[in-house]
C-alpha cells in the first residue's frame, strides 16, 4: 500500500505523517504541492502546518495548488483522504468537507494531550476503532474551532458524520465539541487533533493515533 503525504510550503507535520504511515506498515510517498500527478497512491494525507503561512485564511491558498486539483477530483470518486489540522482546514476550503475552522475561543495557540471519543467507525480512517472508544492524542492549533450553520450541523449529526468529539471542557469553542468529521461517502476525513503525534509512547502521549493509519489499510484491503 502506498499512502501519499502532501508537502505544501509551510507544511510541518509531513515527516510525522510519513512516519505514522510507515509504523502502520505502508509505504509513504511524498507528494509536492506543484505536482498534479498523484503517482498512483492508494490514499492521501494532508498534514498539519501553516501552508502558505496561513495567509488570507488557513487553507485558502493551498486549496488552489495543482496537487489539490487532482486530490479533489479523485476524492470525489472514492480516494481515501485524511486532513489533519491544517489539512482539515484545506479540506473545508476545498469544499470536500463542510464548515470552517476558526480562531480558538481563548485566542491562544494550544498544545497538549486531548481526550476525544471516536463516534464513527465506518469511515475509511476510523474503521479499526471500537465505536465510542476514548483516546488521547495531541491537540495543537490556533484556529481549531469548528463552525458551521445549523442545518449543516443537524445533517452531520443525523448522518453520523461526526467521527470524533472532544471530551471534557471544550478546548477551542467547536460546535457540539466536534473534533473531526467525514464526508457522506466516508472516504474523506478531517480531524483537528494529531493522530500522527501519538504512534509511539516515547514521543507522544499514547499510541492511540496509529489506528487512523491502520484503518485506511484495512479499508483498502477490503476493497
Amino acid at each position: 500500500m502506498r499512502v501519499g503525504v502532501v508537502t505544501f510550503p509551510g507544511s510541518l507535520d509531513d515527516q510525522d505523517a510519513a512516519r505514522a504511515v510507515r509504523f502502520a506498515g505502508a509505504t509513504p510517498v511524498s507528494l509536492w504541492h506543484r505536482d498534479s500527478d498523484l503517482h498512483g497512491v492508494d490514499a492521501v494525507i494532508l498534514p498539519g502546518g501553516f501552508s502558505y503561512g496561513d495567509y488570507l485564511r488557513c487553507g485558502a491558498i493551498s486549496r488552489f495548488a495543482p496537487v489539490m486539483t487532482s486530490i479533489i477530483e479523485q476524492a470525489k470518486s472514492g480516494l481515501p483522504v485524511l486532513g489533519i489540522c491544517n489539512g482539515f482546514q484545506i479540506l473545508c476550503e476545498s469544499h470536500l468537507l463542510p464548515g470552517a475552522l476558526t480562531r480558538n475561543q481563548g485566542l491562544h495557540f494550544l498544545c497538549g494531550p486531548q481526550k476525544i471519543r471516536i463516534e464513527n467507525t465506518t469511515s475509511a480512517w476510523t474503521s479499526n476503532f471500537v465505536k465510542n472508544q476514548e483516546i488521547v492524542i495531541p491537540l495543537k492549533n490556533g484556529e481549531g474551532s469548528f463552525q458551521c450553520d445549523d442545518s449543516t450541523l443537524a445533517q452531520l449529526e443525523s448522518e453520523g458524520r461526526v467521527i470524533a468529539r472532544y471530551l471534557g471542557e471544550n478546548p477551542n469553542g467547536s460546535r457540539n465539541l466536534i473534533a473531526g468529521i467525514t464526508n457522506a461517502r466516508g472516504n474523506v476525513v478531517g480531524i483537528m487533533p494529531h493522530p500522527e503525534h501519538a504512534i509511539d509512547s516515547l514521543t507522544g502521549p499514547t499510541t492511540d493515533g496509529l489506528a487512523f493509519f491502520t484503518s485506511v489499510l484495512t479499508t483498502l484491503v477490503g476493497k
Binding site: D16, Y52, F109, C111, P138, D200, T203
Partner: protein, 742 residues
C-alpha cells in the same frame, strides 16, 4: 539626499558627519578616518557604526571573553569553536550538533511579539547557517514583577511571539525558564536557544573564498525594518524620554523562514555553497564584511541589485536594514544554475549581487559608483576593544555580611502555609499556561520537554541517539557573588542534563548585564566570565560560543547579573532517559547530596524581599561526582528530579503532581531549613526497593551523601506530620498563571 561616494569623500575631508547619532564615539570616528586615509563615505560610516556597535563588536566584553579560549579544557568533541555563527560538537555516530543562545531583550521590551518572534528567527538562522537542520528551541525568560501592569503587556506578547514564530517553523519548544524580579521591569530578558543537527561533513562556514565565485542573496526582500536596530537599540540604555523606537524593531515572517530553511537544506545537501552567512544584526553590512573577512578579503557587491520591498531606500539604509529571513551564500559559477533552480522550486527570491575578487578590499557600488571601499577585517573583526574600568560594587560587602532576617515557619500549620505560598508564587508556580502555547510534538522526536529537568530530542530513529539541553541561571546568587553564581549556574545545567540521563558535553551562554560603562556592572561581568571559564575548565566542558547583552538597565538600575548557561549532553539511547516523576506507588525516595542552611538568594528569601547574605560556594568536584553517580545509576532508578530553586519543597511538589501519585517523606533536623534551603548539588531519586542497595553502594563509591527520605504512594504529600492533599497542592501550583495572565 545626493549620493555620497568614495570619490566625493576623498575630496571633501571637512564635511561634518553624524557619527555620534549613529552611536560612534569621537575617537572611534577618528580611527575610521585613519584606516581609510580619508573621511568615510556615508555608506561606509553606516557600516562601521553598526559593526562597531557593542552588539556586533563585543568591544567591551572581548578582553574578558578571551578566557574561554585561554582556559579551554582539552576536548575532543569540539568541531567548530568560538567565533563562527555557532559552535559545533561531535556527538558520535558521525553526527555533529550545533547550539547557541542569543538575546533579543531590547526589541522585546519595545514590541514584545515581534521582538521575541525575530529572536527565534535569528537564532534559528544562525544554526541553519552552520549547515544544520534546526531541531528544537528553548527560551530562558525574565520579567518584572508578575503582577506589574507592564509585565501583563510584555509577557503575553513575548510568549505569543515565541509560539507564533517557532510553531510556524515546525520546531518543538522543549524548555526554558521564566523568572520574575523587580530589576527586570523595563528590561525583560528574552533569550532564545536553538539546536541543530548535521553530519560532520556538512558543516558550513562563513567565508568568501575563491576569486570569481558569486555572492548570492536569497530569501526575503530588503525593507526599511530594523534599520539601525543594532546600534540604536542594543547599545543604548533606555532613557525616560526620547522618541519612540518602534521603527527599529524588525518584523518577522515565519513562513518565509520555514521555506528558507527547507530551501537552504536542499542547497546544502547538494553541496552548492563555498560559504554562507545569515543576515541578522547589521544585515548586509555584517554578512558581506564577515564573509569577505573570513575568506581572502576581496569582494565586489552591486548594492543596486538587492531586491527591495521599498524602492525608496537609500544605499545606507539597505546596508543597515535588518529585514529578517535573508541569507547570503558564496557559490561557484558552475553551481549557480542548480542553486537558482532550487530557489525557484521553493519560490525563494534569489539574486546574484556580486563576486569574490582576488583583492583585499570590500567594494560596494551603487549604479556603478563606488560607495564603499574598505579592508573588510577592519569592519568585521578589528573593531575597537575596550578594557573598561571595573570596581567591586560598594554595596556588596555590606550585603554579604548581612545576617538573614527571614521569617521561617515554626510549626506544622506554618509549614503548610509556607509550602502553599512558595509553590503558588509566580517563580515557582506551574508554567503550563506558557508551554501550552508552544508546539512540543512537531518533528516527532521530542523525548522530554518542560517541566522535565532537561529538554531532550532524538536525532537518530534507528540508533536511538539523542541530545539533551538545559539552560539555567540563578541571578540572585550571581548578584551576591558573580564568580560563584556563574559556576553554580553551570553546575545546575550540567546536573539537569545528567539527571535526565545524558552526559554533559559542551557549554553555550548568554550573558545579560547592565551598562558596561558602569564599573560595578563591568566587575560583575568580569567575575562572571572568570567563574564560568574556571568552572568549564574544572568540569572539562568547552564553551562553544555565546552572546553578550549589555545595557539592560533603566536609569541607574541595572538588572541582576544574569548569565544564562546552556549545557548540551548526549544520550546513547533515549529509551533509557529518566523522567522527573514516578508513576507507581511503593518506590523508595532518596536524596543525593547534603543539605545545609543555604537560604541567601533563595526563593523563600525573595518572597520576603531579603536580598542579602552569602551565596553558596560551588563545589564542582562534588558536582562531577554526582554526575558520575547519576550516569552510573541510570538503570537502577525509576525517576529523578533536580533540587534547585524552591528547594526540596519544589522538587517534591513537582514530582508528586506530575503523575498525581503522592509520597510520604520523613526529614531529619530543622524541617523549615530542610524544605526551603537551596543547597546546590542535590537530586531526589525514586528506586525500586531491590535496587536501593546497589544505589547506596555506588553513592559510597562516588562519595555522595545519600539519605532515604520516604516512599511513593497515596493521595497526599506528607512530610513528617504535615499533610498536603494533592488536590489542594495542585490548585495552589496551577492557578497562579491563569489568574495573572489568563
Amino acid at each position: 539626499m545626493a549620493l555620497d561616494t568614495v570619490a566625493i569623500a576623498s575630496t571633501t575631508p571637512d564635511q561634518v558627519q553624524p557619527f555620534a547619532e549613529l552611536g560612534l564615539k569621537g575617537d572611534e570616528y577618528q580611527r575610521i578616518r585613519e584606516i581609510l586615509g580619508r573621511r568615510p563615505s556615508s555608506s561606509e560610516l553606516a557600516m562601521y557604526s553598526v559593526m562597531w556597535s557593542e552588539h556586533c563588536s563585543y568591544k567591551s566584553s572581548k578582553v574578558h571573553l578571551r578566557q574561554f579560549g585561554e582556559k579551554a579544557p582539552k576536548s575532543d568533541v569540539l568541531l567548530v569553536g568560538i567565533g563562527e555563527n555557532a559552535g559545533v560538537v561531535d556527538v558520535g555516530q558521525g553526527y555533529a550538533v550545533t547550539f547557541k543562545i542569543e538575546s533579543h531583550n531590547h526589541p522585546s521590551f519595545i514590541e514584545p511579539y515581534q521582538g521575541a518572534a525575530t529572536g527565534i528567527g535569528g537564532i534559528v538562522r544562525d544554526i541553519l547557517t552552520m549547515g544544520a537542520r534546526p531541531i528544537a528551541v528553548m527560551d530562558p525568560l525574565r520579567f518584572g514583577p508578575a503582577d506589574a501592569p507592564d509585565t501583563r503587556r510584555v509577557l503575553p506578547g513575548v510568549i505569543a511571539g515565541i509560539g507564533g514564530y517557532g510553531n510556524c517553523l515546525g520546531l518543538p519548544n522543549i524548555g526554558g525558564e521564566i523568572i520574575f524580579d523587580q530589576t527586570y521591569a523595563g528590561n525583560p530578558l528574552v533569550n532564545a536557544l536553538c539546536v541543530g543537527v548535521m553530519r560532520h561533513e556538512q558543516i558550513k562556514l562563513a567565508k568568501a573564498s575563491g576569486p570569481g565565485n558569486l555572492v548570492v542573496l536569497f530569501g526575503a526582500k530588503t525593507g526599511g525594518d530594523g534599520i539601525g536596530g543594532v546600534s540604536v537599540l542594543a547599545s543604548e540604555t533606555f532613557g525616560a524620554s526620547g522618541p519612540a523606537k518602534r521603527p527599529s524593531v524588525q518584523v518577522g515572517d515565519p513562513f518565509t523562514e520555514k521555506v528558507l530553511i527547507e530551501c537552504s537544506l536542499e542547497i546544502f545537501a547538494e553541496d552548492l555553497v563555498v560559504g554562507i552567512q545569515d543576515l541578522g544584526g547589521a544585515g548586509l553590512s555584517c554578512a558581506t564584511s564577515e564573509l569577505a573577512s573570513g575568506g581572502s578579503g576581496g569582494m565586489e557587491v552591486e548594492l543596486d541589485k538587492v531586491p527591495l520591498r521599498d524602492p525608496s531606500l537609500t544605499p545606507e539604509e539597505i546596508l543597515m536594514s535588518e529585514s529578517q529571513e535573508r541569507m547570503c551564500a558564496i557559490v561557484e559559477p558552475s553551481k549557480i544554475a542548480r542553486f537558482l533552480e532550487i530557489c525557484e522550486k521553493w519560490d525563494v527570491t534569489v539574486t546574484v549581487i556580486g563576486k569574490v575578487t582576488d583583492g583585499d578590499r570590500l567594494i560596494i557600488t551603487w549604479h556603478g559608483e563606488v560607495i564603499v571601499d574598505v579592508p573588510p577585517r577592519t569592519v568585521a573583526h578589528e573593531g575597537p576593544v575596550y578594557n573598561r574600568p571595573m570596581a567591586k560594587p560598594g554595596y556588596l560587602d555590606q550585603l554579604n555580611a548581612k545576617v538573614l532576617d527571614i521569617p521561617m515557619p515554626k510549626n506544622n500549620a506554618e509549614i503548610k502555609v509556607a509550602i502553599l505560598k512558595l509553590m503558588s508564587s509566580a517563580n515557582m508556580a506551574d508554567k503550563s499556561w506558557v508551554t501550552a502555547q508552544y508546539d512540543k510534538y512537531v518533528q516527532g522526536n521530542t523525548i522530554q520537554s518542560q517541566p522535565q529537568d532537561s529538554g531532550m530530542v532524538r536525532i537518530d530513529e534507528n540508533t536511538h541517539l539523542g541530545v539533551a539541553i538545559s539552560t539555567d541561571a540563578n541571578a540572585s546568587w550571581s548578584y551576591l557573588n558573580p564568580y560563584e553564581g556563574a559556576k553554580l549556574a553551570l553546575a545546575e545545567a550540567a546536573r539537569n542534563i545528567a539527571t535526565a540521563g545524558a552526559k554533559p558535553l559542551a557549554v553555550t551562554n548568554c550573558l545579560n548585564f547592565g551598562s558596561p560603562e558602569d564599573p560595578a556592572v563591568m566587575w560583575q561581568f568580569a567575575e562572571t566570565v572568570r567563574g564560568l571559564a574556571d568552572g568549564c575548565l574544572e568540569m572539562g566542558l568547552p564553551v562553544t560560543g555565546g552572546n553578550v547583552s549589555f545595557y539592560n538597565q533603566t536609569g541607574d538600575v541595572a538588572i541582576l547579573p544574569t548569565p544564562i548557561i546552556g549545557v548540551l549532553g548526549v544520550i546513547q539511547d533515549v529509551r533509557t532517559r529518566m523522567p522527573m516523576s514516578f508513576d507507581v506507588a511503593g518506590l523508595e525516595l532518596y536524596l543525593l547530596g547534603e543539605t545545609r542552611a543555604d537560604l541567601a538568594g533563595s526563593q523563600w528569601a525573595y518572597l520576603h524581599n531579603e536580598r542579602g547574605g552569602q551565596a553558596p560556594l560551588a563545589n564542582l568536584k562534588n558536582e562531577m561526582s554526582l554526575i558520575d553517580l547519576l550516569l552510573e545509576s541510570q538503570s537502577l532508578c525509576s525517576a529523578r528530579h533536580d533540587v534547585s530553586q524552591g528547594g526540596l519543597t519544589a522538587t517534591l511538589t513537582e514530582m508528586v503532581l506530575e503523575n498525581n501519585i503522592g509520597a510520604t517523606i520523613t526529614l531529619e533536623g530543622d524541617l523549615a531549613t530542610a524544605l526551603l534551603s537551596e543547597t546546590p548539588g542535590r537530586v531526589v531519586v525514586a528506586v525500586h526497593k531491590e535496587n536501593a542497595p546497589a544505589l547506596l553502594a555506588l553513592a559510597t563509591k562516588d562519595k555522595i551523601t545519600v539519605t532515604k527520605i520516604g516512599e511513593t504512594g497515596g493521595e497526599s504529600l506528607t512530610i513528617n506530620d504535615v499533610v498536603m492533599d494533592l488536590t489542594e497542592l495542585r490548585a495552589a501550583f496551577m492557578e497562579t498563571f491563569p489568574k495573572l495572565f489568563g
